[in-house]
């Protein structure tokens, strides 16, 4: 019986070979390079001839004056983004799903994917304009309603909000597309059955639609959580300034400023390794939690 089963599974093994090999060569083998996080690495001297320094690089990293502040900022911003990047696209997908008019649907779908194509260099320029305390649109509206203008990009209280909101705005189109595709995968028969059972629009949403996309939501959440220490460098670099280091400086921008990228390979690899390890732990935790809560394995 076992032999037969193995024989039946053989094609499955074969199917995996190309993927396993490519990942081995281009993802895992280069990971040998992670050992430079434990060395005082000099390129050219190679991975095995540079001096070993054990955990020194990590100690230096964690001991940096701004490290706690930076980690907090990174987590805060990333967590908020992860949360909103689930909620907003799901809501949008659900709303779009209610629309019958195909053309309107397609139009909106196209529109919301557009911001993805703009680089942060461009978007930062636009944001600086509309958020300007003196001439910006948003503050004009605030002033109109009798409020005091807010210096969004220069105020530590507001900066993270701007960062979170603008990134969600830029990328929610991506998530919406995924959830829409998931929605189309729901068996229409289930809706019919629900209708027959007397469920109205709202009940159908609750009992058919939402459970139908839950697997995808759980999956996207689990996958995203692994990236929690990686708040978007490009965006923050173009938007921040010394005025908002306190709330806006994240791990990647700190590393960049310290010039680690170009010269201090060991330190930046140590930071990267640290980030990956945290990501792994969080991914495992959310995987197990999802399984416990929903009985479903995200992947």
């Amino acid at each position: 019986m076992n032999r037969n089963k193995f024989k039946r599974q053989l094609p499955l093994y074969f199917m995996l070979i190309p993927g396993v090999l490519v990942v081995l060569v281009y993802n895992y083998l280069p990971m040998i390079g992670l050992i430079i996080a434990f060395q005082d690495f000099v390129p050219g001297e190679g991975f095995f001839r540079s001096e070993w320094v054990g955990l020194d690089n990590f100690k230096y990293l964690f001991g940096m004056n701004n490290f706690p502040r930076v980690i907090w900022n990174t987590i805060y911003i990333a967590a908020a983004k992860i949360l909103l990047m689930i909620v907003v696209p799901v809501v949008f997908a659900l709303l779009l799903n209610e629309i019958r008019n195909k053309h309107f649907k397609r139009g909106v779908q196209t529109a919301i994917y557009l911001p993805h194509f703009l680089s942060w260099i461009i978007l930062a320029g636009i944001l600086i304009d509309i958020l300007s305390p003196s001439t910006g649109m948003i503050n004009q509206v605030i002033k109109f309603f009798g409020g005091k203008p807010i210096f969004f990009l220069g105020d530590n209280k507001w900066f993270p909000t701007v960062v979170i909101a603008s990134d969600v705005w830029k990328e929610f189109g991506y998530g919406t597309i995924i959830y829409l595709a998931a929605l189309t995968g729901i068996d229409p028969g289930l809706y019919e059955a629900a209708y027959v059972d007397g469920a109205g629009r709202w009940r159908q949403l609750l009992h058919v639609t939402l459970p139908g996309i839950t697997p995808m939501v759980v999956l996207m959440t689990t996958l995203s959580i692994g990236g929690i220490l990686g708040a978007n460098f490009d965006q923050i670099f173009n938007l921040y300034s010394p005025a908002v280091y306190e709330s806006g400086d994240v791990l990647d921008t700190l590393i960049y400023r310290i010039g680690l990228v170009d010269a201090q390979f060991s330190l930046s690899t140590a930071a990267s390794l640290f980030r990956s390890l945290v990501g792994l732990v969080l991914t495992v935790v959310s995987y197990k939690t999802a399984h416990k809560l929903t009985g479903y394995r995200p992947f």
């Binding site: 039946r8 990942v23 281009y26 994917y113 194509f117 209708y195 629009r201 692994g226 992947f299």
Partner: protein, 292 residues
């Protein structure tokens, strides 16, 4: 969805339309701004006077970018990259997702392999080790250096796994009873049923390969082999206002209109492909094959 029309429903509909239109509009306006800048004269653009309509209408910026033969060459390189990349990525994604979508009982080692791939997504050796590997495998300078290292887009593959898992289990049973092996089941049944997922992933792959400009600057040694976005990066002389910049290079700084034209040109092909793929997003699963 089946439901009767009610007043509450109509109000809900109106609200839904309102939110969607607002959302879509907010997304479109910045691009309209960039479009307007691309068609404006450089002085008003530099002075920040262009909002939603071009000021001093001109196609100078487009002429500047499009009239070079390097542009057309780079365009073809990009097309080649996207076609090769899409094909390879899709094949890898499909054949790797299929076994991993089986349950543990049907395929014992699936969890091991699954975490093998997840691990690759979470950890990276960094730029230098990856560069050395690309060099060691002889891909340096070839268009395949832009495709093979990322041949399996793991995130996409996981999404496809979930799509496969959502398909009713009876499909596999039915196929196997009919004497079909896994390869046949995959190609004749699973793939056709996954069109929305595949179309979605195809879109992301195309966009990814089309927009990626950094890897070519590192792995491609000659400008004539650059894909389009990489080439466009070099059309803009580095915005170096530092003291080290020479007088003439400052004079040569490309103005905002050219940058804007670059973005528009770089995005057009995607907008041409998008509607084509869109119709697959909204196709439902054909359930007849199972019931039969």
């Amino acid at each position: 969805m089946h439901y009767q029309k009610t007043i509450a429903g109509s109000i809900a509909n109106a609200l839904i339309y309102f939110v969607l239109i607002l959302g879509a509009l907010s997304c479109v306006l910045p691009l309209i701004n960039v479009l307007a800048i691309s068609f404006s004269s450089s002085v008003p653009a530099t002075a920040g006077q262009v909002k939603l309509l071009p000021v001093g209408f001109t196609v100078n910026a487009y002429q500047y970018v499009l009239e070079k033969k390097e542009f057309v060459e780079a365009l073809w390189v990009s097309v080649e990259r996207v076609v090769l990349g899409l094909t390879i990525n899709t094949v890898f994604t499909v054949i790797t997702a299929y076994p991993l979508s089986k349950t543990k009982s049907r395929f014992q080692p699936r969890n091991v392999f699954m975490w093998y791939f997840v691990g690759a997504m979470l950890f990276s050796g960094g730029l230098i080790p990856t560069y050395l590997m690309v060099s060691a495998t002889g891909l340096m300078g070839s268009i395949f250096s832009l495709i093979i290292p990322g041949a399996l887009p793991i995130w996409n593959m996981i999404i496809l796994i979930n799509f496969f898992r959502e398909l009713p289990g009876e499909i596999e049973e039915a196929a196997l009873i009919d004497g079909a092996g896994h390869f046949t089941a995959l190609t004749k049944i699973y793939v056709p049923l996954s069109k929305p997922a595949l179309a979605t992933l195809a879109l992301f792959t195309i966009v990814g390969h089309w927009n990626n400009w950094f890897d070519a600057l590192i792995y491609i040694n000659r400008p004539e082999n650059y894909p389009l976005q990489t080439y466009l990066q070099t059309v803009l002389t580095k915005q170096d206002y530092s003291v080290a910049a020479t007088i003439s290079s400052i004079g040569n700084l490309s103005d905002r209109t050219i940058k804007a034209a670059q973005i528009i040109i770089g995005s057009i092909p995607i907008f041409m492909v998008y509607p084509f793929l869109q119709k697959y997003f909204t196709q439902g699963i054909v359930m007849g094959s199972v019931k039969g």
